[in-house]
């Protein structure tokens, strides 16, 4: 079999002259640059700023409603960190070596995930406890539960709330990034393995 290096390179180099492609003029490229700046990333960044603004408003509302300024400040700080890393992931300019880019993105993503789960747990704590207190009041008012039944019900409600937030959180992450993080980790491992050859 004449499948040596020469054959592969020969086929590759001759073939690339013939592969299908749209030759872009300089005007096309310039137009592409203007369009890109205005559309894709512009839209993403706009949505990040809107989301971050809404979170800030929400944290103020939560702080005021619960008369707890510290909680409001903590939520706004965590969401600021979350949106900072989200912005960094989506605006990362990949101009270093591939290994450096992958390592950097993995680090940014890990930090993003920490902020994401902190925010998720915070929301879970807030929504969960509000729901929990109301539900308990309702039970106490309309039913005559004994102590053990109440404990069991509390347990079931807690498990349901945690499960709901856990799966909703995972689903939202998948919706936003697919399996991006897993793939980045796979690349990182593969590049590290090359160095161990």
């Amino acid at each position: 079999m004449e499948l040596d290096d020469f054959d592969l390179k020969d086929v590759w180099q001759k073939g690339n002259h013939n592969t299908q492609k749209t030759i872009h003029s300089q005007a096309d490229i310039s137009q592409m640059l203007k369009k890109s700046t205005a559309s894709t990333l512009g839209k993403i960044n706009k949505s990040i700023f809107i989301e971050a603004g809404l979170m800030l408003v929400m944290s103020v509302v939560v702080g005021v409603l619960l008369e707890n300024i510290i909680l409001g400040v903590v939520i706004s700080l965590v969401s600021a960190v979350y949106y900072f890393f989200k912005y960094k992931i989506l605006n990362y300019v990949p101009n270093k070596s591939i290994k450096k880019t992958v390592n950097r993105l993995v680090t940014i993503f890990q930090r993003y995930l920490i902020a994401y789960y902190l925010l998720l747990w915070g929301c879970m704590g807030f929504v969960g406890s509000t729901f929990f207190i109301s539900f308990r009041k309702y039970l106490q008012k309309y039913t005559d539960q004994n102590f053990y039944t109440q404990i069991a019900l509390d347990g079931v409600i807690t498990i349901l709330i945690v499960a709901l937030f856990y799966f909703a959180g995972k689903y939202y992450l998948k919706l936003l990034y697919g399996n991006y993080f897993e793939e980045l980790q796979k690349y990182k491992k593969e590049l590290d393995n090359i160095e161990e050859l």
Partner: protein, 166 residues
Amino acid sequence: MLQDEFSKLITDNQDIVHKVCNVYCPNPQDRADLFQEIVYQLWKSSNTFRGDAKFTTWMYRVALNTAITSFKKFKKQPIPKEINERILEYPEQKDDLFDERLKSLYEAIGQLSDIEKAIIMLHLEEHTYQDIAKVMGITESNVGVKINRIKKKLKEILKRKETLWN
């Protein structure tokens, strides 16, 4: 760098971007999206080009980085293993054997990991081990070892269509 100056450089070297798109995206629509994204990332990175490397090597670095780490591709449908027939086009002369060889080579490369695709592509484009090491961020000595392993892998895949290469 001025936008006009930059777009001229990209226009002159757009073949590089097309090659990267062909290797990483079998689907024509994805290829067009990736092309645009690479051009945009090149523009955003243009101030980092210091002239210590060849412009084409720098272009490969940004283009491959974008193709590998772009988060958009992970949200798309799974990539089919079969290479799209429309990736190949022979306007001047039609050579069925060459057509089949090229198609099988693209298919074989398509079965490699994204990292392996980048390494073999740079190798097939006649880049030196030193350049490949810089683009990938690995040591030069490991580039050689890795290339040999990838070539072995490619040959294994291509062996299934042995008649094409005899």
